[in-house]
Symmetry: C2
C-alpha cells in the first residue's frame, strides 16, 4: 500500500517534522494560494516518478498556477488530486528509508540532487543509533561538509540531527513502513523540510526471536558423541579423538561398540548414567530428529549437529523438524552442518578440526567451517590465541548474534571476531556491538560474491553496504580481509579501543617513517608535535635526526638511543606510539624490543611495533609477541591496525581518498 505526498506530510507533521506550505486540490476550484514561486504536482498512487512523468510544474504567479493546474488535469485525468506547495531552496539532501529484513529500518542519508546515483554519497543509519552515533556516520558523507558550510552552502546541523531524531521516532512507531522517500529534503540554516514524500507500507516480516544463551552453554562439563566411531576415516572417530585432551567427561554413543578410543561407549544417550551437558551428533541426517529427541529426554542443554544434509542440501523440512524437537525440549542446537566448537582455555575441541588453536582472548564466530580450519592452522603458527571458536553452520536455532551476545557477557573474551555471510538478527546485534571490541568480515559484497554465498550456505547474504554502515554506526569494525582482521585483533586484544588519535612514530629509517606518516594522516590519525622536547631530544640524538614526528633516530641507532629517545618522548601527550625497526648494521634488535616492552609498561599507553625484515628481526618479534606487544612486518599493516583500534577514525577511508 502506498501513501501519497499529502498523506506522508500528514504523518510527518504528527511527529513535528516540518513540511512545506501546501494546498491540496481535488475539485475544479483554485485554492487560496499566495506563496510564489510555487510547485504544482500530481497526487496519484499510480505515478511513482512524478518528474519523469511530467507531473511536476512550476508557477511564479496566480496566472501560471491556473495554467499549470489545468495542464496537469488534462494530463492526469484519473489523478486523486493535485498539490500546490511553496518552492523550497537550500542544500538538497537525499533521505530514503528502507526496512531491511535483518536490521529493520535504516535511513539512507547523503547528498541529493540529480547526481545522487552517480556519486553515491549515501550512508545508511540504523534507527537504533543515538544522535551522537548518527553524527559520526554523517561525517562520512559530503552532505555533512555542505551542512557545516562549504562555498555558498550552509545548513543547520542541529536541525538536521533533530529532523533525523523525529524520523527515528516515527519509524519506531510505524513498523509497517517498508519504504519512505523524502527526496529531496532541503536543508538551510533555518529549516530542514522535505519537498516530497512517498511511502510504501507492507506488513512486517516474521523474524526469529533472539533467545539469550545460558552463560555456560559452550563450557560443558560432559560431552557425548552420538555416532562415535572406531573407523579413523569417520567424523565420529575424529570427534572422540579430539576430546581426548578434554578435562570433562566424554561419553561415546554407538550401539555397535563397547569402547571407543579408551572411553566406555553407550548404546544410546539415554543410557549414560550421568548428566550430559553437550551432545555432538554425527549420524545420518534422517536420524537426527530422533536422536535429538533422546537428547531432550536426557536433559542435554546443547546439541551440536555436525551432520550435513539439511537446508543447505534443499531439505528444509528436515531442518524444521530439528528446530521443532529442540523447541519442545528446550535444547539449544548449534548447526546442523557445523564443524563444532572449540574452547582452547579448557582444552576442549568439540569439533572435527584436527588442530586446537592456542588459548587467548579472541572469540571467533564463523559462518564458514572451512575458514575455521584454515584460521586455526595459521593461528598455531602465528601464535594467535582464542577464548572460543564457534562454527555456526546452518543456524537453524543458535544464530551468530546470540553467540555474540554471550561473548559480550563472557569474561574470557576481550575481542569478538565474526565472519558473516547472512544474519537474521541484525537489529538485535546492534544492541551489543558497541559493548566489546568487535571485528567483522562480511562476505557477499558483490553480486558475484552474493551468488557464491547463496549457494554455499543455506542463508541469503544480506546487503553489504547496509551491514557495514549499520555495524560501524554502533562502533563495530568492518574489515576487508582475514589478515586485516587478525592484525586488528592483535591491537584490540592488547589495548581495546582508543579514544584518542594522537600518534607518535619513532624509527631508525626514513622511508618507512615517511610511509607510516602518509598512512596515518590519510586515515585521520594525528601526528603529535615533538616541538616541546626538540631541544632535549637534540641533546641525545645525532645532529641529523629528523626534528619532526616521525622521529628518525638515524640508521645507526642502537637500543641505547631508542631508550634515550623514549624517555624524553614519554613526556609528550600521545595516545599510541609506533616503533619502527629496520635491521641495519648497528641495530641490536632484541635489545630494542626490550626497550619497546618497557616503554609500553612505563607509559601505560598503546605501543605498537613494526619490525621489518626477516631473520635479523625474528628474535625481536618473538620477544614482542611473548609480551603481547602488537608487532607487524609492514608499516601499512601497523598503521592500519592502529586506525582500526581508534574509535573516531576506523572507517574514514573516504577521507583517505580525499586527502590524495
Amino acid at each position: 500500500m502506498h501513501l501519497t505526498e499529502p498523506e506522508v506530510y500528514k504523518l510527518l507533521s504528527r511527529y513535528g517534522i516540518p513540511v512545506p506550505n501546501y494546498a491540496l486540490v481535488t475539485g475544479e476550484e483554485l485554492p487560496p494560494w499566495n506563496i510564489f514561486p510555487a510547485v504544482v504536482k500530481v497526487v496519484s498512487k499510480e505515478v511513482v516518478h512524478k518528474s519523469n512523468a511530467g507531473g511536476v510544474l512550476f508557477a511564479k504567479d496566480q496566472e501560471e498556477l491556473r495554467e499549470a493546474l489545468s495542464e496537469l488535469r488534462k494530463k492526469f485525468p484519473n489523478a486523486e488530486g493535485f498539490i500546490v506547495e511553496e518552492k523550497l531552496e537550500g542544500i538538497e539532501a537525499f533521505v530514503g528509508v528502507k526496512r531491511d529484513l535483518s536490521f529493520l529500518h535504516v535511513v539512507g542519508v547523503g547528498t541529493g540532487g540529480i547526481l545522487v546515483e552517480l556519486f553515491k554519497d549515501v550512508v545508511f543509519i540504523p534507527i537504533r543509533s543515538t544522535k551522537e552515533e548518527i553524527e559520526e556516520q554523517l561525517k562520512k558523507t559530503k552532505l555533512y561538509r555542505l551542512i557545516k558550510g562549504f562555498r555558498n552552502f550552509k545548513g543547520n546541523k542541529e536541525l538536521f540531527l533533530d529532523f533525523l531524531e523525529k524520523l527515528k521516532k516515527l519509524l519506531r512507531e510505524h513498523p509497517e513502513i517498508y519504504e519512505l522517500d523524502l527526496n529531496p529534503t532541503f536543508v538551510t540554516e533555518k529549516y530542514v523540510i522535505p519537498a516530497d514524500g512517498r511511502a510504501l507500507l507492507k506488513e512486517p516480516e516474521r523474524r526469529r526471536n533472539f533467545k539469550p544463551l545460558p552463560d555456560n552453554l559452550f563450557r560443558p562439563e560432559s560431552v557425548a558423541v552420538i555416532g562415535a566411531s572406531k573407523n579413523p576415516k569417520k567424523v565420529g572417530y575424529a570427534l572422540v579423538r579430539n576430546l581426548e585432551r578434554f578435562k570433562g567427561k566424554v561419553f561415546p554413543v554407538n550401539p555397535k561398540y563397547e569402547r571407543v578410543l579408551g572411553f566406555k561407549c553407550y548404546p544410546s544417550v539415554k543410557e549414560i548414567p550421568e548428566p550430559v551437558d553437550c551432545a555432538l551428533i554425527a549420524v545420518p541426517a534422517e536420524v537426527v530428529p530422533a536422536v535429538l529427541k533422546e537428547c531432550g529426554e536426557k536433559g542435554v542443554k546443547l546439541a551440536v549437529v555436525i551432520s550435513a544434509g539439511f537446508k543447505e542440501a534443499g531439505r528444509e523440512e528436515l531442518e524444521r523438524e530439528v528446530v521443532e524437537v529442540a523447541k519442545e525440549f528446550g535444547i539449544r542446537v548449534l548447526g546442523p552442518n557445523t564443524l563444532g566448537f572449540m574452547v582452547p582455555p579448557l582444552g576442549l575441541n568439540a569439533s572435527f578440526s584436527t588442530t586446537l588453536p592456542p588459548k587467548g582472548e579472541i572469540s571467533f564466530l564463523s559462518q564458514s567451517g572451512a575458514l575455521i580450519t584454515a584460521v586455526v592452522d595459521a593461528a598455531a603458527k602465528e601464535n594467535i590465541g582464542f577464548s572460543e571458536v564457534i562454527s555456526l553452520g546452518n543456524q537453524s536455532d543458535i544464530e551468530l548474534t546470540e553467540c555474540f551476545e554471550l561473548a559480550v557477557r563472557s569474561s574470557d573474551t576481550k575481542v569478538i571476531l565474526s565472519y558473516v555471510e547472512g544474519l537474521e538478527l541484525g537489529w538485535e546485534l546492534l544492541d551489543f556491538v558497541g559493548r566489546k571490541p568487535a571485528v567483522f568480515i562480511k562476505a557477499g559484497r558483490s553480486e558475484g560474491g552474493k551468488r557464491a554465498a547463496a549457494s554455499h550456505t543455506g542463508s541469503l547474504a544480506g546487503n553489504y553496504k547496509v551491514f557495514k554502515d549499520a555495524v560501524e554506526c554502533k562502533g563495530g569494525i568492518v574489515v576487508d580481509s582475514l589478515e586485516e582482521a587478525f592484525d586488528a585483533c592483535q591491537f584490540l586484544t592488547a589495548y581495546g579501543r582508543l579514544k584518542g588519535r594522537k600518534l607518535l612514530i619513532v624509527t631508525n629509517a626514513g622511508g618507512p617513517g615517511t610511509l607510516s606518516a602518509d598512512y596515518a594522516t590519510s586515515f585521520g590519525l594525528e601526528l603529535v608535535s615533538v616541538d616541546p622536547v626538540l631541544e632535549e631530544l637534540s641533546r641525545v640524538l645525532p645532529p641529523n635526526w629528523s626534528r619532526i614526528n616521525p622521529v628518525d633516530l638515524i640508521g645507526d641507532a642502537t637500543s641505547d638511543r631508542y631508550r634515550a629517545a623514549f624517555e624524553i618522548l614519554e613526556k609528550l601527550n600521545w595516545d599510541v606510539c609506533l616503533v619502527i625497526v629496520t635491521p641495519q648494521s648497528m641495530t641490536d634488535v632484541p635489545e630494542i624490543s626490550h626497550e619497546v616492552v618497557k616503554l609500553a609498561e612505563r607509559s601505560r599507553r598503546a605501543v605498537v611495533a613494526c619490525f621489518m625484515g626477516g631473520h635479523s628481526v625474528s628474535k625481536g618479534v618473538e620477544i614482542l609477541k611473548r609480551e603481547k606487544i602488537p608487532v607487524y612486518p609492514d608499516p601499512y599493516r601497523a598503521v592500519n591496525s592502529i586506525r582500526r583500534g581508534v574509535w573516531s577514525v576506523q572507517s574514514s577511508s573516504e577521507e583517505k581518498r580525499e586527502r590524495e
Copy 2:
C-alpha cells in the same frame, strides 16, 4: 603573466578548439549582438575569480545586455574591457592544466560545477598520454559516465577526446603555460566548448637532462673501495667484506694499509695497475671531490659515493662540486649518501648491507637505503629474488628514471619495483613506464608524509596525486604498501601483465571462495561462467558442489578431485585461475600443489594459489614457490595481486567503492 579570457579564446581557436560566440567590448558602444541568453563578464588581469567579484552577469535581451554592461562598467572602472558571450548548456566538466616540475603539463579533468572541490572527481592526465590511455584514465571519473549518458545527461566521448588531443598539442607547443583553467567546459552530444578561460604564463624551470646510462654500468668487472678499512666497525671494512664473494677484481684503496681482508691494498686509485670500472667511495665528505677527480683520471665509469654529509646535511655546495667533477671526467655518480648497489646474479654486493638477497628478476630501485636493508632481509626469508638492487641516495647525478630506463633495457630484469620520494625526470619516466611491468610505492602522500620526506632526503616529495595518475595513465602500477608491492611483483615476475580479466576460482572451502569472488568483482575482474561444463563437472564432483564460479569442490576434496576439475575447467576461456586450498581432514596439500603446477604448465595461462593455514600447508607452499607459481596466504592478497597484474582493472578502486 596572465592571459585574459579573449586572449585564451584566441589561443584555443588557433588549435581548432571551439570557443563560445563572443564579442569584446572595450569602448562605450554596444556590440552587434543577438544571441540570447548571453553572459556578460569583466575582462581584467586583476580579477581572478570573476563570479566571486560580481563580475559575471546574465542578459536575456538587448535591454538587459545594456544594463549589465553599464553595471559592470561602474563596478570595474579600470577593467580592460568586457566580454559578451552566448550562454552554453550541457555537462559541466572541469578542465585545468598545471605544469608540474617533474611531469610537466598535466591536465586535470573531471566533473565540474560548484561541488568540484567537494567531490574531487578529477584525474590528472599527462600530455604524454595517447588518446587510448586518456580514455582509460577518464574511466576513473564520474564525468566519463555522464558523457556516456546518465539520466538526462549525455555528451560526446569522441568530441571530448578530440578536444583533449588538441589541448595536448597546444600545450606541447606552449611550454610557457604554467596554469590554464577552462572552467567550466560544457560537453553536449554536439559540442565541447570551454565557457571561460584564464592562463598564467611562466618561464619553464630549468630541469636536469636525462642521460642514458651505459649498458653495463652496474655490471662492473672490477671494483675499487676507496676508504677501505681493517676496522670492522667502519663502512670501509663492510664494503670490502661484502665483495669477498664477487667474481670480479677487488681493489681496496687506503694509504695506511698493505692488505685488507686478503686483498692487496693501494695507496690511491691511480696506482691500481689494472682498469677500474667502479669505485665505492667511503671517505669524509670534504675529501670526496678530490677522490672523484682521481677516479676520473683513472677512467672509472661509475663512482658510488657512500659518504654522507652533502645536500641532505645542508651542504649543497659540496654536492655541486661532486657533480662538476663527475661532468668534467664523464663519470656517472650514484649517491652521495647511498647504501650502494647489489647484483645478486653476479654475487656482487657493492653496498654496506650485510645480506645479499637471492637472485631473481626484480630490479629494485629505492630512494631509501634503510628500506633496502629491511627488504633484502625479508627477501632472504621469503625467497624473493632480485636482478639488482640500487640505492639512489641524493641523486646528485644518477636519477631513478635513468636506472629505470636501464632496467627496461636489461634482459636480466622482468619487473621493476621503485620506492619513490621525489622524482625530477617524471616526464621522461612516462616514456619508459609502460615498457616493462613496473610497480611503484610513492611516499609523501599526505602533508604529514611530505614533511617527513622533505626532512629525510634532500629532495622535495612531489604531488602524490599527480604522480599516481600520471604513472597509472602510462601503465605503471602504484601500490600502497611494501607487502602489496612484493605480492604484485610475484605475479608479474611469473606472468607479466595480462590483457584479459576473466577469472576462474577453484576452492575446497565456501567462505574463502565467496570472499575472493567479492574482491574480484569489486576490482572489476570478471568471473567466467562454468555453465558450458556444468554437466561434465557434475559427473566428477559430489552432488553438493557449487555449480557456479567460484567452483567449490567441497571440503573433502583431494588432489584427485582437484585434478579432475582442472582437466574439465581447462576448456573454459579464462585468463587467470585462482586455486584456494584450506587444510581440511582429507586435504593432501602437497599433491594438490603438484596439480596446480601441472595446470599452469598445461594451460599456459596464469595460475595463482591461495594456500590458507600454517604448518599444514607449508610444504605445498614450498613446492609452489620453487616452481614459481605465485602463492598467497590470504584471498585478499591473492586477488589484489591478480588485479594489479591485469591491465584494465589495476587502478579501479573507484569502481570498488561504487559497487558497495
